[in-house]
């Protein structure tokens, strides 16, 4: 008992420590503890918009393949895809997954953050770009979630319903028109804008200059949207084309919407597979090669090449660019058949056919073009030819030739690209296969639209359906005879939507006619 004082001290200390540990408050400081000191929890919405602007939604193997510009003939294992008219989830979902949980999520969130903000230019830019993304979704899948989309966090909508494709188009039209009208040259300058901001490929420093570019972009998209109605409602197509034309569309390559990559940290993801994963599997499609070859197209060398070893194109620093030596892989022919006559057989570790020129168009440093003056001018050519905008054939020819030259000029921006001489351009424009011909104008114009969209497969494919695949170079793909007419008209929805968003998915399938497949048509693609 000699140490009773000492013991009491110890006891008291144990109790005191326990009490302090615990009863200073059973949930005291919990809010502070549960706040991550390192996380970014508020953000400038313009940075989210910038992040969304460089999201690429699709690769070579889907839309470009349907448009018969590109082929992966390897059919063994799991790589059956559009070249074999196969409805393969992994191929169908690229655009969906790049858009909804990618660019759209960030843009829709940014718009929610901007609610009540006076940054009318930033808001309008996001609305325009969002409309562009949704247009791609509608063109690809038809009815898609629109009004409910991207709102899990902001509005608690986890299972968006699908909206009617025509209704979405109507709303996109409204979005474009409202945004174009709302933009204010004296308003906010969006420095972060990757297209026309301070660090853009085409830099600007004032709101006025930036707004001017965006208005042209908005109207060019309105023109694109309007032209989609060609088959389904030509009066509407005419009205929108004229409205866009009057509003002021792109007028030179200085209006182009594109981003550049440094090739190290940021690369053109679209070109990742064809350069990095088994290049031997990827080739240019025969219809496309034949078009460039027969017309002696000056773009050919930037687009395609024959490499000594198709499996290691990097090793070949002087690939064969001669027009005459280019051969495309016929569509719908499997790789095992390609190795035997009448096909061209093996070359190195791959097949004896032309590939995308991975030193230029196919490079990891190739820029990504979304909306170009070339596209716009070619659409104007068609509108003029159809008499929807003033000028008739004369104007159509000018728009046509401007479009071709503008597209040729974009290749100066590609790695190993160069400015094509004026003489060569003139020679090309006077080539009988290319020269404007009123009797054959729509075919000529849209064939050039096809070429101008080699790096933009979604647009190439949408336009083919809009004008009913009217050019001579294309061939029907009858690989498994399960597509009516041999062309894919639509991609099917991701399989997982059937389980992740069941009720809305099945309602949508019902709404598009009962079958979620590759031959159901989107609303503007009437037979």
């Amino acid at each position: 008992m000699l140490n009773s004082n000492y013991m009491i001290k110890i006891i008291n200390r144990i109790i005191f420590i326990s009490a302090v540990f615990l009863f200073a408050g059973c949930d005291k400081d919990f809010v502070e503890i549960n706040t991550n000191p390192y996380a970014v929890i508020s953000i400038d919405p313009a940075l989210l918009f910038a992040g969304a602007q460089r999201t690429v939604e699709s690769g070579w193997e889907v839309e470009n393949t349907i448009a018969q510009q590109f082929v992966n003939p390897f059919n063994s294992g799991a790589t059956l895809g559009p070249n074999f008219n196969a409805d393969i989830d992994g191929f169908n979902n690229g655009r969906w997954e790049g858009s909804y949980p990618g660019s759209l999520k960030n843009m829709i969130h940014a718009l929610a953050l901007l609610k009540g903000s006076s940054n009318v230019n930033l808001i309008s830019m996001i609305r325009i770009w969002k409309a562009q993304i949704f247009m791609g979704l509608v063109d690809t899948y038809g009815d898609v979630p629109y009004l409910d989309a991207g709102k899990a966090y902001t509005d608690g909508i986890f299972y968006p319903k699908y909206d009617d494709d025509a209704a979405i188009y109507t709303d996109l039209e409204k979005e474009l028109k409202e945004s174009i009208a709302a933009m204010n040259p004296a308003g906010d300058f969006v420095s972060a804008d990757l297209f026309f901001g301070k660090n853009a490929a085409i830099p600007n420093t004032t709101a006025a200059a930036q707004v001017a570019k965006w208005k042209k972009l908005g109207n060019s998209l309105l023109l694109r949207l309007g032209m989609r109605y060609t088959k389904v409602n030509s009066a509407k197509a005419q009205a929108l084309a004229l409205e866009a034309f009057n509003g002021g569309v792109m007028t030179s390559n200085a209006d182009n919407v594109y981003v550049k990559y440094d090739g190290v940290v940021f690369t053109n993801q679209r070109n990742y597979n064809i350069t990095t994963i088994n290049p031997r599997l990827y080739y240019v499609a025969e219809p496309f090669v034949n078009q460039l070859k027969t017309s002696n197209d000056p773009r050919s060398g930037f687009i395609m090449a024959k490499f000594a070893d198709p499996n290691n194109p990097f090793a070949d620093n002087s690939p064969d660019l001669t027009h005459a030596n280019q051969y495309g892989v016929p569509v719908g022919v499997i790789s095992d058949v390609l190795v035997n006559p009448p096909y061209r057989g093996i070359r190195g570790g791959g097949y004896n056919y032309s590939q995308i020129n991975i030193k230029s168009l196919g490079s990891l440093t190739a820029p990504t073009y979304w909306v170009t003056y070339a596209q716009t001018s070619l659409l104007l050519a068609e509108a003029a030819k159809r008499g929807w905008i003033p000028g008739g054939d004369a104007a159509a020819q000018t728009y046509y030739e401007n479009g071709i030259i503008a597209d040729i000029d974009t290749y100066a921006q590609y790695p190993n690209g160069s400015v094509v001489s004026a003489a060569a351009k003139t020679a090309f424009l006077t080539n009988p296969a290319i020269a404007y011909n009123p009797a054959n104008a729509l075919k000529l114009i849209n064939t050039q639209y096809w070429i101008a969209n080699i790096a933009n497969g979604t647009e190439a494919w949408a336009n083919l359906r809009r004008v009913n695949f009217l050019y001579p170079a294309l061939s029907t793909n009858l690989y498994n005879k399960n597509l009516n007419g041999g062309f894919i008209r639509r991609l099917s929805y991701p399989d997982y939507e059937a389980s992740n968003n069941s009720a809305n998915y099945f309602a949508a399938v019902k709404a598009i006619g009962g079958t979620d497949n590759l031959v159901t048509r989107v609303f503007w693609d009437t037979p």
């Binding site: 009490a19 615990l22 970014v40 910038a50 991207g150 660090n199 990095t276 990097f314």
Partner: protein, 1069 residues
């Protein structure tokens, strides 16, 4: 909270203080007569901690370490009551004696039956109203496994151990009474080591594609679990608290039960002892792979390869020509005979081993004891270069500071170095993936000697599945390297003060810190023929990750017990704070400038990240036990937890339990056959806060590490939408049990029935990605685990020289999903074919069905059940995925037989599991790639195609259309996701273990220079002796990849299982 609880505590501390003072003073004031003496046991050893009470007064004393006691009496004619748990109480009249020596005898009705329960509280088994099992630690030593839990497979009713086939340092799956939550939640029991609670943390291989996505390679390699730090030689006792009543005092950590481990800390008055144990194990891969076809070689369409390029393009297919021994081109350009090599995987694998040495030093004096041990393990897996080394240092210390104040310290430090743990359950890397899916006619020597493309050092292309079939020889030769070093320290200090013999206060501080460092190098040429990037740098990855985790558990407990005539009360209150801080640095580099140099500095593109989290749970709890006449007991407990990770409006939960035991044999003392009989019943409400991480409720943003052409860009961080409304989930468990010991404990039976309902789980919910997010978390779904556990032990022979004990345990488990959420009856957890790693099937939770339900499409059938085929003779699938079985076995159990003859003891152990389902990716791949015997159907001798037995869908007549494209036909199984041929029962009966021990102590003592030996024994054992029954062909049903639940029923490129041979030597001196 602060106001409500802090004041009472301050008062309580003052009351305790005064009370203590009063007690100490009163003893001195009222002493009138003193009795002293020594208490010994039957074998004349001093017995400490015996409670001595003067009947009818409050006076009492406790015997010290040497069995001595001294008590001051009020009345010199009093009766003294001597009592200690495990011994029969004695009442002795003082009769004016001043010295009384007492011998205590064991209480035969509660032999060995002091159980360590939750919070480390020791209780007599009779008082418990729930089931516990105390593990026979001897079994851990005679059935050694690298991970201590693996040796308990099949041995304890209610405990289901499932070791994956995942390499030398792998984790095990531990499930008590089923699976408390859906796959993905923490379903393994709480592990409590010397009072320190920690999660098992099975770092299992849950599948992840190699290149780029997971540069640290953590998802494709099993990185062990926290039980790896426990050395079986250090274990003093291990108690399995099966149900949640047993673990209820752990509140939100109690849902899955608990395993309480106490390590040795020496014994008092023992002097210095040294113990040395050496154990050597070798392991051979078990080859059940009798499924490879040896008739056809590399190629497609029945053709031989015609060129090197052709061979390299079709290496993934066994659809070539008939093997004829002729010379054909191979991928490396040589001409080689067209023959089959069926044993390549097993020729590639090596013999595994484990060499463990433990040395322990222990000692004890009058006031304390200690034990310190050091163990070194050096193990090699069957996969070449798979190495696992661990060192465990363990210290246990008991010290009496004063008569009433005791200090107990335990420190466990471990260091594990795991190198090149096998890559399993993935496409791409992994030897099993490669050797089961590469054409049978490629020789192992070619794959080994021509793995590297001599031109540019990339992996020589062996197939068109270049990135998904990676030659492991290339990885080995090109310097792929992966090392995970982990250091962990577990420290516990407990200070206990006994105010009187019936009131104590205990404070405890636990510290658990771990540091894990992973370094991973993936050489540039793996899975590609293109060595460089577009910027002319080399491909490849280098990644270094360091994770530090620090947990503190501090608790206190005030406890007291009192008897009032036939009534007894034992009550305690306590509190705990649990604080966890994690941080992790990751640095990665790619685009290497100098060839073959993998470092951060050499990488042109670098990435780094820092993760941090901080979390806290505070708790208050209390327990009370009421007894009547030593045969009726009621226990109640309650605990309230406060969580930092939840929103303040829903951050607290109360967890109650009540249990009762009735020792009816006390009322049937005339029934001589009945030694002991007890009925028990309990109910508990526990739960789990797992599934929610710190900061999850707050949306945040990632600012891109690199400016895009000079412009900062940002995105929303993560793919899940935060949900602030989450609450912890709850578990409600009812249990009844019967325990019988008959015929002088020769026949013992223990039966429990339980029903456990889990509600409001925190589950990751996959939402439509059109919402912008891939998922969120929500409280939903309820499920039920119910079952019957039985243990029957018969001590058939017990003579001086010979004994035979036979014991059988069996668990019947029934699981059921009760509900998902209103309007939703099914929850898809994972579509395996969309992972890029697996090939077939889905895992679902469906209302009314057992848990972990595997789904596939199946053959399309007509109304009569006949299989339908298309007019072209091809397969047709049901449009929907259908449930094909649960991965969870319904029956698990084991039968142990221990024989002893003089100094020999022999253990034979058989265990079994029945009623589970397994889906085999390997069987599918072998079939579609033309590798398996099953793929021969249609091309056997005389066959020119396959007329699949079925009904033509168009005509309704038997199919007569012959399919000649066999590859296309069999590939349809994958494309259409038809699972029928790949669904198997995971049932097995295994002769798990045979061990033979020989105690040489007496023999040794006859040798003069070995006289100092206190013990010497040798044990030899064989593990996985034979599979007596199984359903799945070609594989061991236990050859599964992961110890998690997501892929529990999924067989996909795990390693073969092993048979191990062990020899151990134990010396004490």
């Amino acid at each position: 909270m602060r106001n409500v609880f802090s004041l009472p505590l301050i008062y309580l501390s003052r009351v305790l203080f005064l009370f203590t003072l009063f007690t100490i003073v009163s003893v001195n004031l009222f002493a009138q007569k003193t009795v002293s003496g020594t208490i010994t046991s039957e074998d004349n050893k001093p017995v400490s901690s015996v409670s001595i009470k003067e009947k009818g007064t409050s006076g009492g004393a406790i015997s010290d370490a040497s069995g001595k006691y001294k008590i001051d009496l009020k009345n010199s004619k009093s009766i003294l009551v001597f009592s200690l748990i495990g011994y029969a109480s004695q009442e002795v009249s003082v009769n004016n004696l001043s010295v009384m020596d007492i011998t205590l005898y064991p209480d035969i009705r509660s032999l060995d039956n002091v159980v360590v329960t939750a919070l480390g509280i020791k209780k007599e088994s009779r008082k418990l109203g729930y089931a516990t099992t105390t593990v026979n630690t001897e079994d851990l030593l005679t059935n050694r496994t690298t991970n201590v839990m693996e040796s308990l497979e099949g041995r304890v009713a209610g405990l289901n151990i499932t070791p994956p086939a995942a390499g030398a340092g792998a984790s095990t799956q531990i499930r008590l009474r089923g699976q408390v939550g859906f796959a993905g939640s923490t379903n393994s029991p709480l592990i409590v080591i010397n009072g320190l609670p920690l999660d098992q943390e099975a770092r299992n291989a849950e599948g992840g594609f190699d290149l780029g996505r997971d540069p640290a390679n953590t998802q494709q390699r099993d990185r062990g679990d926290n039980l790896q730090v426990v050395n079986p030689d250090d274990i003093e006792s291990m108690t399995i608290l099966k149900g949640s009543t047993a673990s209820a005092l752990y509140g939100s950590r109690a849902a899955a039960g608990a395993i309480i481990i106490t390590t040795k800390s020496g014994s008092k008055n023992k002097g210095i002892g040294v113990e040395y144990t050496s154990s050597y194990t070798t392991q051979d891969a078990l080859n059940f792979m009798d499924q490879f076809q040896t008739m056809y070689g590399l190629g497609q369409n029945g053709l031989k390869p015609i060129s090197q390029a052709d061979a390299a393009g079709k290496g993934q297919f066994g659809w070539g020509a008939k093997l004829d021994g002729s010379l054909v081109p191979t991928f490396d350009g040589t001409m080689q005979p067209y023959i089959a090599y069926e044993n390549r995987l097993f020729d590639y694998l090596q013999t595994g081993s484990n060499f463990t040495n433990t040395v322990a030093l222990s000692g004890g004096g009058a006031n304390g004891s200690y034990r310190v041990s050091f163990a070194n393990t050096d193990a090699k897996g069957i996969e070449p270069r798979d190495e696992y080394k661990k060192k465990i240092f363990n210290l246990g210390l008991n010290q009496k500071i004063t008569d009433k104040l005791k200090l107990n310290v335990n420190i466990n430090w471990s260091n594990e170095i795991q190198s090149n743990a096998p890559q399993i359950g993935v496409q791409g890397p992994g030897s099993v993936n490669f050797f089961t899916r590469i054409a049978p006619s490629i020789s192992l020597s070619s794959l080994k000697n021509s793995a590297v493309n001599p031109i540019d050092g990339t992996e020589a292309r062996t197939s068109s599945f270049q990135n998904t079939l990676q030659n492991p020889y290339y990885a080995n030769q090109a310097g792929q390297n992966w090392v995970n070093e982990r250091d962990r320290i577990l420290g516990t200090a407990t200070l206990r003060y006994d105010f009187t013999d019936w009131l104590y206060l205990q404070g405890r501080y636990n510290y658990n810190q771990s540091i894990s460092n992973i370094e991973s190098t993936i050489p540039y040429g793996i899975g590609t023929s293109v060595p460089k990037n577009a910027d002319n740098t080399y491909k490849g990855f280098y990644n270094i990750t360091e994770e530090k985790r620090r947990e503190i558990n501090a608790d206190f407990l005030v406890g007291g017990n009192k008897e009032f005539g036939k009534f007894s009360v034992d009550a305690s209150v306590g509190g705990n704070t649990w604080r966890i801080k994690n941080n992790a640095f990751t640095q990665g580099a790619t685009n290497f400038i100098v060839k073959d140099l993998y470092s951060i500095g050499n990488g042109n593109v670098k990435s780094q990240s820092y993760a941090f989290s901080n979390r806290r749970v505070n708790s208050l709890y209390g327990l009370a036990e009421f007894g009547y006449d030593r045969f009726l007991y009621i226990n109640v407990t309650g605990r309230k937890d406060w969580f930092s990770v939840y929103n303040s409006s829903n951050n607290q939960v109360f967890y109650p339990s009540v249990s009762g035991s009735f020792i009816f044999s006390e009322l049937l003392k005339n029934q001589k056959w009945l030694t002991y009989g007890k009925l028990r019943a309990s109910w508990a409400g526990t739960g789990s806060a797992n599934g929610v991480d710190p900061y999850e409720g707050i949306l945040n943003y990632d600012i891109n590490a690199f400016n895009f052409n000079g412009q900062t860009t940002a995105t929303i961080a993560g793919v899940n939408a935060p949900n602030v409304a989450l609450t912890p989930f709850s578990v409600d468990e009812k249990e009844i049990g019967l325990e019988l010991r008959m015929f002088k404990s020769r026949v013992n039976l223990d039966i429990s029935a339980f029903k456990k309902v889990t509600t409001d789980q925190v589950l990751p919910v996959t939402v439509s990605n059109t919402s912008g997010y891939l998922g969120t978390k929500a409280n939903l779904a309820s499920l039920q685990n119910s079952g019957l556990e039985a243990m029957l032990e018969v001590k058939a022979i017990q003579t001086k020289n010979i004994s035979w004990t036979s014991s059988w345990n069996n668990t019947y488990l029934s699981t059921k999903v009760l509900a998902i959420s209103p309007g939703v009856k099914d929850f898809l957890l994972l579509f395996f074919n969309s992972t890029g790693v697996e090939f077939l099937g889905q895992i679902h939770y469906t209302e009314g069905l057992p848990m972990n339900q595997l789904y596939t499409r199946t053959y399309l059938r007509d109304a009569n059940g006949n299989i339908l085929v298309s007019p072209a003779g091809r397969l047709l699938a049901t449009p929907d995925f259908k449930p094909v079985g649960s991965s969870i076995p319904k029956f698990t159990g084991g039968w142990t037989n221990n024989f002893t003859y003089k100094n020999f003891s022999l253990g034979i152990f058989i265990d079994y599991k029945f009623g589970g389902t397994v889906l085999s990716s390997t069987a599918l791949n072998l079939l579609r790639q033309g590798m398996s015997k099953a793929s021969l159907v249609g091309r056997r001798d005389g066959e020119t195609g396959l007329i699949f037995p079925g009904i033509n869908q168009a005509t309704g007549q038997p199919n007569t259309t012959k399919v000649t494209d066999l590859q296309g036909f069999y590939t349809d199984y994958r494309n259409l996701q038809i699972g029928d041929p790949f669904i198997f029962k995971s049932d097995f009966i295994k002769l798990r273990n045979i061990s033979l021990s020989y105690n040489l102590t007496n023999l040794a003592k006859k040798v003069s220079y070995l006289k100092s030996f206190k013990g010497l024994s040798l044990t030899a054992s064989v593990r996985n002796v034979a599979i007596l029954y199984k359903d799945i062909p070609g594989l061991d049903p236990e050859a599964i990849q992961s110890s998690g639940d997501i892929r529990a029923g999924y067989e996909n490129t795990s390693l073969p299982t092993v048979r191990s041979y062990n020899l151990s030597l134990n010396v004490k001196f």
